[in-house]
């Protein structure tokens, strides 16, 4: 589903981003195939080793329907109506955390670290982090968080992360695809090769979507020698790397006015 974007700023940013990623768009056309015979290396405690620095190469951060099954999000009519009346400024413009799954496909790298009983995700974007226990403990109760409450477990070679308690204010992308506080995301991370992970998320929200829907995308290992995550402060956007066009500061004036 492609929605009308009323903000000239966003449109310019998206065109610029698509131009910037056009070289990787061709790489994305050759998707790494799920090779059932691939045996991932193991951590000392015998779990599939997902560690390293990973990044997506797609435009999902701008429009998540790009990576949705059938390129469609099965909105309920009342949810579309709610969305029309809802806020029009992307929460990340005010340095809010992007939520799950959006944090995965933000155009910034992230690092996975594994310790017995934990998988730790460290995102360069906004120095976000998720400490995911893999003990299948029950979800916490009574509090919503921007990145939700993540609990993991292993299914064969796949890390399955169940995410609930997600703050209803986050968006799924810059194209204002929204959700409610009933959002439930199940992520699946499966190594498909030495430098690739298949990422899949099932997105369920009975208050917003007619049925659960799926997104999937490859994650690519950053193989640049000596590459390290850097500090990304939202208010500055300066970590020694070029600033992504979308995250440049907005021009002066009321941000609400700019996006109407």
């Amino acid at each position: 589903m492609v929605k009308e974007l009323k903000s000239a700023f966003l449109l310019v940013a998206i065109v610029a981003a698509l131009l910037a990623t056009s070289s990787s768009a061709s790489a994305q056309a050759i998707r790494p195939k799920l090779d059932p015979s691939y045996i991932p290396p193991r951590t000392p405690d015998g779990k599939p080793d997902l560690q390293g620095i990973w990044e997506t190469r797609n435009a999902a951060a701008f429009d998540v329907s790009e990576v949705a099954e059938g390129h469609e999000i099965p909105y309920l009519p009342e949810a579309l109506d709610r969305e029309q009346k809802g806020p029009r400024v992307d929460p990340i413009a005010h340095c809010k955390m992007p939520g799950v799954p959006r944090i995965t496909y933000m155009p910034f790298p992230f690092q996975i670290m594994q310790r017995p009983g934990y998988v730790v995700f460290m995102y360069e974007y906004l120095h976000d982090q998720r400490i995911i226990p893999t003990n299948s403990r029950p979800h916490i109760d009574g509090i919503d968080l921007w990145l939700g409450d993540s609990v993991g477990h292993w299914e064969g070679n796949t890390l399955v992360v169940d995410v609930t308690n997600l703050d209803e204010r986050s968006w799924l992308d810059s194209a204002r695809h929204t959700h409610s506080d009933a959002l439930h995301v199940v992520e699946r991370y499966t190594r498909t090769g030495p430098n690739t992970i298949n990422y899949e998320a099932t997105i369920e929200d009975p208050k917003t979507y007619a049925r659960p829907w799926k997104i999937s995308m490859p994650l690519y290992r950053n193989t640049e020698p000596g590459f390290e995550l850097r500090e990304q402060e939202c208010t500055e956007g300066d970590n020694g790397r070029p600033i992504h066009p979308l995250y440049r500061p907005l021009p002066k004036g009321d941000p609400l006015e700019l996006t109407r």
């Binding site: 730790v120 120095h127 390290e228 850097r230 208010t235 956007g237 907005l250």
Partner: protein
């Protein structure tokens, strides 16, 4: 800290006094990182591998990765949390922190530093639930000599989990956030002084 008084240069002592009158300029009030050592005053969780040690802080969801592979500090980069490289000396983790920007502060009492700040931290476990932490703070632009601080770190209860600290909640400071201004407008002090002068 050792000795009880920070060895501030006279100009720095004056500025520190001035800063105590301007709590609105505290960078943590604008949701910025505390920096090192300031971040260590809050709960954090350590994850260890042979090549690096990740320290994840609850407050401000701050984070740093202490690289243990002998690699040098980067040369093109200043950060709120600086750049941490570590090594082992017996049972002690020694962390060298450089590349600090000049915007983070030590506390809420006006104590600040410059981009010449160099912190050497020492983490020494003394029993199963205690780490003795100490740091040598050097900043020749602000202090007359290096000084030391220390405190014990106590292990949190077994069932303790850190929660999310978003900080940017209901913020009424959109001007700073959207404009990408750091924290303190350059002429802030002079403007304040002029206002005071007028009132007199």
């Amino acid at each position: 800290m050792e000795g009880g008084t920070l060895p501030l240069q006279p100009w720095a002592a004056a500025k520190a006094k001035e800063l105590t009158q301007h709590m609105e300029l505290d960078p943590t009030g604008h949701c910025h990182y505390e920096g090192i050592p300031h971040a260590n005053y809050f709960p954090f969780q350590i994850f260890q591998t042979p090549k690096y040690i990740a320290v994840l802080y609850e407050n401000m969801h701050a984070r740093r990765i202490i690289y243990m592979d002998g690699s040098p500090h980067p040369r093109d980069y200043l950060a709120w949390m600086g750049d941490s490289r570590g090594h082992w000396e017996g049972n002690t983790l020694v962390v060298d922190v450089t590349n600090n920007n000049d915007k983070s502060v030590f506390d809420m009492a006006g104590h600040f530093h410059s981009d010449a700040l160099h912190v050497v931290e020492r983490f020494t476990p003394v029993d199963k639930d205690t780490i003795n932490w100490e740091a040598t703070i050097d900043d020749p632009k602000v202090f007359t000599k290096p000084w030391k601080m220390k405190f014990p770190l106590k292990r949190a209860p077994q069932d303790f989990e850190m929660l999310e600290s978003g900080c940017f909640e209901g913020e009424r400071d959109a001007e700073h956030l959207v404009e990408g201004l750091a924290t303190v407008p350059k002429d802030h002090y002079t403007e304040k002084e002029k206002e005071k002068e007028k009132q007199r």
